[in-house]
């Protein structure tokens, strides 16, 4: 297993280099260079040229990319063209907030999604099933930003329970996490339901019941554990989506995360920050998916990696 994990980590290196090259090329293709944006609308052509030179943007593209790789090899993602701070520092300031949001949403959506899915599967064909799946469809169809705005109106403006924006207190985490997790919870509820229904027909469940085990134990210990494999795949995949989707929620709630940082960096043509945030997101995504693969082996001892 350790060899497998190491191999996966090594394989991630060329993937990340590919990602960095892709982002670099895309960034270069965006109209409007960083020097023009930084100089502002009153700058002279000489000012723009001086900034371009200072940032090394007057160098050919391959040289610029090689310099980026050189810095990367020294453990640096470069300096933000906008703030003049190390990109790693910029990301370190913000990444914990996005991670907290994404992890909170993963936990909440997993708990809610699996609970609803199991409930719907157990009550298959009944009112509980229809009601639960109705809620899930609502969660899938209503966009997160709408939930966020309704949440602000109800819980912040009318009830005064929660703050409107920022990340200054534990209470300020509630609305963003709920808004971010609803769609994901709905997906997990539907997957859990169908996965559980598949497992319900298996012989080992009949055996468990025949042994006289309580229904609760049969569902939780035998059915759910076996139904978790497709669900854990979804959890891994959705973690990446949550990282990406956090931008809208971060924007609405004035959340100081990397989603907002990345978009602001694109508008400012702050390419070192764009590259840095994409790389960090890619590394996180790769690590989460590796963790999910390792989790498979725990769920199903028949799965072995060599």
């Amino acid at each position: 297993m350790i060899r497998y994990v190491l191999r996966r980590l090594l394989l991630a290196v060329p993937v990340l280099l590919g990602v960095s090259l892709g982002v670099f090329l895309m960034a270069s293709a965006i109209p409007g260079d960083p020097a023009t944006v930084l100089a502002g609308d009153t700058a002279s052509a000489e000012q723009v040229e001086a900034i371009r030179h200072e940032l090394g943007l007057d160098q050919p593209l391959p040289i610029q990319y090689l310099r980026f790789l050189e810095r990367l090899a020294h453990g640096s993602l470069g300096e933000s063209t906008r703030t003049h701070r190390e990109v790693l520092l910029e990301i370190a300031d913000r990444f914990p907030y996005t991670l907290a949001l994404a992890l909170g949403a993963v936990v909440l959506s997993t708990v809610v999604g699996i609970s609803l899915g199991v409930f719907a599967a157990v009550k298959r064909g009944g009112a509980g099933d229809y009601l639960t799946m109705g809620i899930a469809i609502l969660g899938l169809s209503v966009p997160g930003f709408l939930i966020a705005l309704f949440g602000i109106i109800i819980f912040s403006l009318n009830l005064h329970w929660l703050p409107v924006s920022g990340a200054r207190s534990p209470a300020s985490y509630v609305l963003p996490i709920v808004a971010l997790s609803l769609h994901s919870a709905a997906v997990k509820a539907r997957i859990t339901r169908s996965s559980m229904l598949e497992v319900f027909g298996q012989d080992y469940l009949r055996t468990a019941r025949a042994k006289g085990l309580r229904e609760r134990l049969v569902i939780l210990r035998h059915a759910l554990k076996n139904a978790l494999i497709p669900i854990s795949t979804i959890i891994g995949l959705q973690f990446g989506a949550l990282l990406g989707g956090a931008f809208i929620i971060e924007n609405i709630f004035g959340w100081p995360g990397i989603g907002r940082l990345a978009v602001q960096a694109i508008f400012n043509r702050d390419f070192p920050v764009v590259q840095g945030t994409v790389l960090v997101a890619a590394v996180t995504y790769a690590l989460v998916n590796l963790a999910v693969d390792v989790f498979y082996a725990w769920l199903d001892p028949r799965i072995r990696y060599s």
Partner: protein, 530 residues
């Protein structure tokens, strides 16, 4: 005994009067305290005032740093860190006498060396600063003695005092710069009424009152330290969230949109302040290449533009005022006599002139070029909601005279890059610059590859621009800008549209806040009711 008893009220009166009289610089104890939270739409990129042109940063600089001079309500320049100044007979040298006893918030004294250090640093690293070009005209600087600073220029430069009063021209503490190893993006130290307390990336910047501040300008009744203990800038990008935060009391100050005015204007929890801003929005034509290199065609289209309708429909007659002339009403150099040269809304005349230029309407009523091709000029503008609405309205107004206007909205970075390449036919944007010398930034030949986004170059105007920059006699200078505006209005590289009006809602807990100059609010006398 009777005499003694009669004296009691007098003694009480004198004692109470003494107790109430505030010390000359110390504010009354009861007024000090509280916090005011503003909205910042983005993070300030850096608090190094030589390394940015970011407007959010600039607002914060205004609290932390102070320039040598400030602009009074009557647009005249008064001393802030400078007590007085003298301009040499050839107008190429200015000698500033600094105020005595001013200290930076790190305790080091403000002196001529500090001023020299700040401006030399601006010359060295300030390519991103809006006043970088100004200091290219400065040949040498000298700290003659502790409080005498001399600035020598290549040629006389009339807008120098404007450029020295902007927040980017603040003086920074050399001690602090050296201590931070020149990296002052988050270690800003100036002489201002507030100092940086905390910079929480992506969330909030907190400034705290400088208790040692005692050199406030004569604009204010309070000449000592400010009353409000903290100013906070909370980063909220989303307009709906900004309004919700204002309603919830999480922020105290917010610029309003037209659609929000009626709601907040009648809400007793807020006071709404309004004023003009130093700027103007215009419709420009790419004057460098055909067909809009033809002044007659530009003028014909300008006459099809109904500015009043734009002000009414887009701004509900509240957040803008139609402008006649290139220099906005709020800026020195505006002259109402210029109204007679305005290209007014005359659609019938616009049609006749287009006909005579060979742009004839086809069977569908839309015009073709003299060569018989469909006439479909392309308007470039930003992706802002306001610009989108104006562009749509312009499209309808031009359609009424048979011109099929195409709209291309670009994100601001892409728009800045597109205009020097002359990809556009028409251009909708604005400027914000409180000096008639805005001509040299936006309409001079030197800037056709950069900030002159209509690529207009006229030797006659160029001559006026150069004269305006060097003429120090105020009356003569204003006449030069009168002529420059008249010429611009006749040649029509721009059709001025409107001057924005700012309306700001402020939480009613703030007392004695005064309306400042063009869009600004004067906070130095303000205090928080608790």
């Amino acid at each position: 005994m009777d005499r003694l008893l009669r004296l009691i009220p007098i003694v009480v009166l004198v004692v109470s009067a003494c107790a109430q009289a505030p010390a000359s610089s110390a504010p009354p104890v009861t007024k000090v305290g509280g916090a005011v939270t503003f909205v910042a739409t983005t993070d300030p990129d850096t608090l190094d005032l030589h390394q940015t042109s970011n407007p959010v940063s600039s607002t914060i600089f205004g609290w932390i740093y102070e320039p040598l001079v400030y602009q009074d309500l009557d647009n005249s320049y008064k001393g802030l860190l400078a007590e007085s100044w003298m301009v040499s007979s050839d107008s190429k040298s200015i000698t500033f006498k600094l105020r005595k006893g001013i200290t930076f918030t790190d305790g080091s004294p403000l002196n001529a060396e500090a001023v020299k250090f700040s401006f030399e640093r601006l010359q060295r690293v300030g390519a991103k600063s809006p006043i970088f070009e100004t200091f290219k005209n400065v040949t040498s600087m000298e700290a003659k003695d502790e409080l005498t600073f001399v600035m020598n220029m290549k040629e006389p430069y009339a807008p120098i005092f404007h450029d020295l009063q902007v927040s980017y021209a603040g003086i920074l503490s050399p001690t602090a710069v050296k201590a931070a190893n020149d990296n002052i993006g988050r270690a800003a130290v100036g002489t201002g009424p507030y100092k940086l307390k905390e910079f929480q990336t992506g969330q909030q910047i907190t400034l705290e009152r400088n208790p040692d501040y005692k050199w406030a300008p004569a604009l204010f009744q309070n000449r000592g330290a400010p009353f409000i203990q903290e100013f906070r800038y909370r980063v909220i990008a989303e307009p709906a969230t900004q309004l919700a935060a204002l309603d919830a009391g999480e922020v105290d100050v917010l610029g309003l949109r037209a659609q929000d005015l009626s709601r907040y204007g009648s809400d007793a929890r807020f006071k709404v302040f309004d004023s003009f801003t130093f700027g103007l929005t215009y419709l420009g034509f790419d004057a460098k290449r055909p067909p809009f290199d033809n002044a007659k065609l530009r003028a014909a289209l300008a006459k099809a533009v109904n500015k009043d309708e734009i002000v009414q429909v887009v701004f509900e007659n509240k957040l803008a005022k139609a402008s006649c002339c290139p220099i906005a009403e709020s800026i020195q150099g505006y002259d109402p006599k210029l109204k007679e040269f305005e290209l007014k809304y005359e659609p019938a005349k616009a049609k006749t002139e287009l006909d005579s230029l060979g742009y004839k309407p086809g069977a569908d009523g839309m015009r073709t070029t003299p060569e018989g091709k469909p006439f479909k000029p392309v308007l470039y503008t930003s992706t802002s909601d306001t610009h989108g609405k104006i562009a749509t309205l312009l499209q309808a107004q031009l359609k009424a005279v048979g011109v099929d206007l195409q709209i291309k909205q670009l994100e601001s970075g892409a728009l800045l890059a597109a205009t020097p390449k002359a990809e556009h036919d028409l251009y909708l944007n604005g400027y914000s610059w409180n000096e008639p010398d805005m001509f040299s930034l936006f309409l001079s030949c030197d800037r056709v590859t950069s900030s002159n986004r209509v690529l207009y170059c006229n030797p006659q105007l160029e001559d006026l621009i150069k004269k305006g920059r060097t003429e120090l006699d105020q009356a003569k200078r204003m006449q030069i800008y009168f002529d420059a505006q008249k010429l611009t209005m006749q040649e029509a590289p721009w059709q001025p549209l409107y001057m924005p009006v700012s309306k700001t809602a402020v939480n009613a807990k703030v007392q004695d806040l005064k309306q400042g100059q063009a869009g600004g609010l004067y906070w130095h006398d303000a205090w928080i009711r608790r």
